[in-house]
Amino acid sequence: MSNHVLNQPILYTQKLTAFYGDFQALFGIDFHLNIGETVAIIGSNGAGKTTFLRSITGLLCNEPSSVKFSGQPIGASSPDEIVKLGIAMVPEGRQLFPSLSVEENLRMGSLSGRSGQWDLRNIYELFPVLKERRHHGSMDLSGGQQQMVAIGRALMANPSILLCDEISLGLAPIIIKDIYRALPAICSEGVTVVVVEQDIRQAMAVSDRVYCFQEGRISLEGRPDELTTEAITHAYFGLEDAVS
């Protein structure tokens, strides 16, 4: 959890909706993120978590004022404009560039042109194994190492907000621990973090606040220590039976 949280929203969405053709995936999402905060978004498959992140990063287009970053409407901005403003994403499934080496993948992250503390040296300090394997093809790495590259690539954009989509997906528990161990170091550099997770326990452990998504709506919001297991289970699965 972060120590430098300011009660000042850096990002918020207002009645955010999203569609895939005729299919509505998000229904009026009201979300806010304070500076320095780590927020977790949990929910089952198809709850709309990834769609939500895609809407914030501009991969899905919205009404301009439905997403605001530092007071500026960005709902209709393109992904390249949004990353230049300071919102970077670690996409689900890592999505590294297979034709590029590890170092080239990391350098791709710096193309947004934002200056800051994150450069190759700092990324290699955060994930030393990547320095050893910097000239290898990105697909030659293990799943955990690939995830480190994906996180490093996003950090190379020197973002104010880092969106992490399912960074533990498909990884062994011990690797997940390694990945999450980097999170405090990232937060301490002043990066505000959003973590999308299916692993509720992991999400609760690292976050200052939690949102639970269910069928494209926010079904629960609160601080981890305020939320009961019953409430989370109900919000996550949407079944009364699941509580008992």
């Binding site: 390249d80 230049k84 999505q95 560039f97 590029l100 193309l111 947004s112 042109g113």
Partner: protein, 288 residues
Amino acid sequence: MSWIDAILQGTLLGGQYALYAAGLSLIFGVMRLVNIAHGDLIILGAYIALVCVEMLGLHPLLSMIIVCPTMFAIGYWMQKLVLNKTLGNDILPPLLVTFGLSIILQNVLMEVFSADSQRLQSGVLDTASLQLTDELTIGWLPLICFVTAVIVIASLQFLFYRTTMGMVFRATSDKAEIVQLMGVKKDRVFALAMGIALAVVGIASVFMAMRTNFDPSVGPGRLLYAFEAVIIGGLGNIWGTLLGGIIIGVSQAIGAQINPGWQQLAGHLAFLLILIFRPNGLFPRTKD
């Protein structure tokens, strides 16, 4: 010795085909776009060169100074204003649109320049040759064309693997959606790639116009050679296109050596054989 001569001449002819193919390979490599108008764009470049030669009195080789930047600009804006709007998950729209562009180009060229056959005269280069042995002679023009093809392909290879722009091209080729999350405008990357591809087409155009007659209707034939060279070499492999061009050129030369009427057929047969036994080409780069 006549067989060695055939192979040598075929290899040099392969340089010409490789120049046709390099632009097509680049376009396919970066944006998975099959440009049906590629052959007609080669002919467009030849007519631009013709105008430069006739109006400015330039030597055809010098006309490249104007042809290549002009073709770059045509490629950049054609991609930006037209083709980018057709790119997506469906491969059919770009195919149909480039097919339409092909027809439009042929008709516009026919209207402006008529159906008369044209050729660029290159003075002494037309007949100048290099005596290798008593029985082996190669023309300077085919040799210059081949060396140019090697230089162009080496330059494209350098651009792709040694520059930041090349890194962005490769990343865009891998994942065009994700590259936007790096702050890259993929539409601009596509436009740049098309611009560079057509600048290369400009070089191919000038050599074609110096070596053979052309008219507005011969574009599809050039497209066929370009396709065959790209597919033989392996989709997206730039050096492979040189090899593909050489294989077609040598096959044609050997076919012509056996029977002059078999020249074209032999090239197509070589392509067919490779398509049967190595459908992804000899050195495929793409994974999909």
